[in-house]
Amino acid sequence: MQRISIDPITRLEGHGKIDIFLDEQGEVANAYLQVPELRGFERFCVGRQAEDMPNITDRICGVCPEAHHMASTKALDALFHVDPPPTAKKLRELFYSIFFATDHTTHFYALAGPDFVVGPEAPALERNILGIIKKVGMDIAGKVLKMRRDGHHLIKMIGGRPVHPNWGLPGGVSRGITEAQRQEIEKLGREAIEFARFSLKLFDDIVLGNKAYLDLITGGIYTHATYNMGTVDADNRVTFYDGMIRVVGPDGKEHAKYHPKDYAEYVAERVEPWSYLKFPYLKKVGWKGFVDGVDSGVYKATPLSRLNAADGMATALAQEEYERMYSTLGGKPVHHTLATHWARLVELLYATERWVELATDPEITGPDYRILPSATPDEGVGCVEAPRGTLTHHYWSDERGILTRVNLIVGTTNNNAAINMSVKKAAQGLIHKGTVIKEGLLNTIEMAYRAYDPCMACATHTLPGQMPLEVTLRAPDGEPIDSFQQNLD
């Protein structure tokens, strides 16, 4: 059997590696996305002081440390049985909305953007952030850089540090904001809303205005009818910081709606011998292998999943865009993986609107941003929507608040099975007997993976923008038959 190895692709935790096997007829028999690294947080966090967890688990990921910091801080609220005052909750959600807007901007422009703005078949050396600048002009590039710079500036101002903030505590946060800071946050937030609207307009003009791109989005090779997961508010609208977890089926009907603390009744994780990363699935549906459909417990937790799992958006402008997306793509749910990019922009707009709502809340500068817990700590679950999926932290402690047990299900991990399936399907759709393996083809396989924005793939792609790949076709005895390099020289 022939093998195509794509190594390294960008990493999730560590490098990822894709192996595509061809059968005797030259068709794709199977594809595997392997994650070759594990760090063991669930073991080495045992014995630690519970309150240290927001500053230990944020080191799971330096791209989205804010998500781990926040899920961990919420787990501490539950562990210590303390309900933070309204100002604390609003400050956390404000911080989180700024983070979300910044992170989604990075992904859309630096990573996903080149495929659409410059084009999936464009020469590799133009299909990058520099290519975007060339196509749309320095003016737009300046807006993108400003959005990222503003976001990181505010994250540092509020949370202490631009990477790995040190701010969350059980019962609140370590410091509030002043009126002067609030004014700056509001001003930059209003500019961010305009930036988000501009981004949707750009998507309209360049992607939706081009039939070839629209066909690519709705084409079969990027489509998987799986379950979808996301966090919703009391009115079943998308929310990032706090809410109930809702799961809808491939038909869009509600499969489950549960409090995050009950996650283990609904989500199970499978171990495969060929990857260090586990494969979560819906427990009540069961594991049926790497297949989609209503009988398979495989689910997705992505921006598109969150929109599929909700009934709408909680802010006015984002709701308009939500409706427009579904009417354009033929109603809910949407299973086209590439539509995840559109959903990400709808979420970007929501995050910026929520940012301004909270920055103009009369309580946001209030002095009561912390209360001290008084109950004995024992067990707690904390959950947020990370940009790349529902993030769950679960801790148990002794009466001193020393951890005795830890469980973590991180954003990208939710999508591990679905990413494997997407890569296989794209490869099956694109590689056939006699197919000449060329760069554009590899990129279109890569796009199946990139839509999930696997952790580590976002901000780190700002230089040339496209993944380096080396593909080797090997005979069954492992002897190389042919090889192709993309962007390696």
Partner: protein
């Protein structure tokens, strides 16, 4: 190829925050591109491991290596890049001291696998499956790198020329270091490139030489916003930690965690911290001092070796550290 210097950046067991910090130098990255050809940076530029293998020894002028060494693949890359690089910098806390991945040394591979693949409550694994270095699937064989028992720092794996501390290093300090390298104004080989002062020297909080009777966990106290956190009983590591961040954490009311590692002349971070803490305790009775430390600091490993366990005198556990305590005033190496 131009006559510019050749630069490589690599990541091993790390979180990616160092890459974000490098991108944080903003448009100065263009100045780096003026001075160097970036020949290897898998996250951002390219991933030609085979091209690196084909380069002559010392063909790379400067390699910034972040991440600790936990797997056979990471060890291979560390050895390869050492061989190919004139100057190898341990970049960031993981490569320098082991950082959070180094906390894995409280356990071993068996314990980590047992928890991750069997005991976590959401794991369903009736077959007892574990990741294998070789797996036979119907279509062929899949390979994974070996997961080691012990996390090592870069300099426990290969010789290192310089160290750049921080989790992650602040972009300003990264730029300072690159400037020093570009202008040839480097300290002696083996040095940490950074400040010679402590975080306390950068902190705007006022010290009153006040003594304390007990330590407070961070969730037990709302500290005064102006006064030294340590003098309020909070375990703040600024006193033993190398400066460079601008005391960011104390500025937002949180204690320094020690992510920049020990200041120059500090051999063991934990031992230095114990000495410093003992000095603010309002007692001359060794038993009372011990009791105050035991109560207020139930997890000395997490409090004092969160970033430096792999590189410390402790390095790793023979047995798990659960429940360990440290004698006040003695070196922590005995724990």
């Amino acid at each position: 190829m131009s006559d510019k210097g050749k630069l490589a950046l690599y990541w091993a067991a790390s979180c990616g925050g160092c890459e974000i910090a490098v991108l944080g130098i903003d448009d100065k990255i263009l100045k780096v591109a003026e001075a160097f050809d970036i020949v290897f940076w898998p996250c951002a530029v390219d991933g030609k491991v085979r091209s690196i293998e084909k380069m002559p020894d010392k063909g790379i002028d400067l390699c910034l290596f972040n991440g600790a060494i936990r797997t056979s693949e990471q060890e291979y890359m560390a050895r390869l890049l050492r061989q190919k690089s004139k100057v190898l910098v341990a970049f960031g806390s993981c490569a320098h001291e082991g950082c959070i991945p180094g906390l894995g040394n409280v356990a071993n591979r068996e314990e980590i696998f047992q928890i991750a693949y069997h005991e976590t409550p959401s794991t369903v694994n009736p077959q007892g499956t574990r990741p294998q270095t070789e797996t036979q699937v119907p279509e062929g064989t899949l390979y994974l790198p070996v997961f080691y028992d012990t996390v090592k720092t870069l300099d426990q794996t290969v010789p290192v020329d310089y160290y750049l501390p921080g989790c992650p290093p602040e972009p300003e300090r990264i730029w300072d270091a690159l400037t020093a390298i570009l202008t040839g104004q480097l300290p002696p080989a083996g040095s940490v490139i950074g400040a010679q002062t402590t975080v306390c020297d950068e902190c705007s909080r006022t010290r009153q030489e006040k003594k304390i009777k007990e330590f407070k966990r961070t969730w037990e106290i709302i500290p005064d916003p102006e006064v030294c956190l340590l003098e309020q009983g909070i375990v703040c590591c600024g006193i033993a930690t190398r400066a460079g961040c601008g005391a960011l954490c104390p500025t937002v009311g949180s204690p320094c965690l020690g992510c920049y590692g020990p200041n120059s002349g500090v051999d063991d971070f934990g031992a230095r911290m114990i000495t410093a803490l003992a000095s603010v305790i309002d007692s001359d009775d060794p038993d009372e001092i011990q009791a105050i430390i035991d109560k207020g600091i139930p997890d000395p490993i997490g409090s004092f070796y969160r970033f430096g366990l792999a590189h410390s005198q402790l390095r790793r556990s023979a047995q798990p550290f659960l429940g360990a305590s440290i004698d006040a005033g003695k070196t922590a190496g005995a724990a």
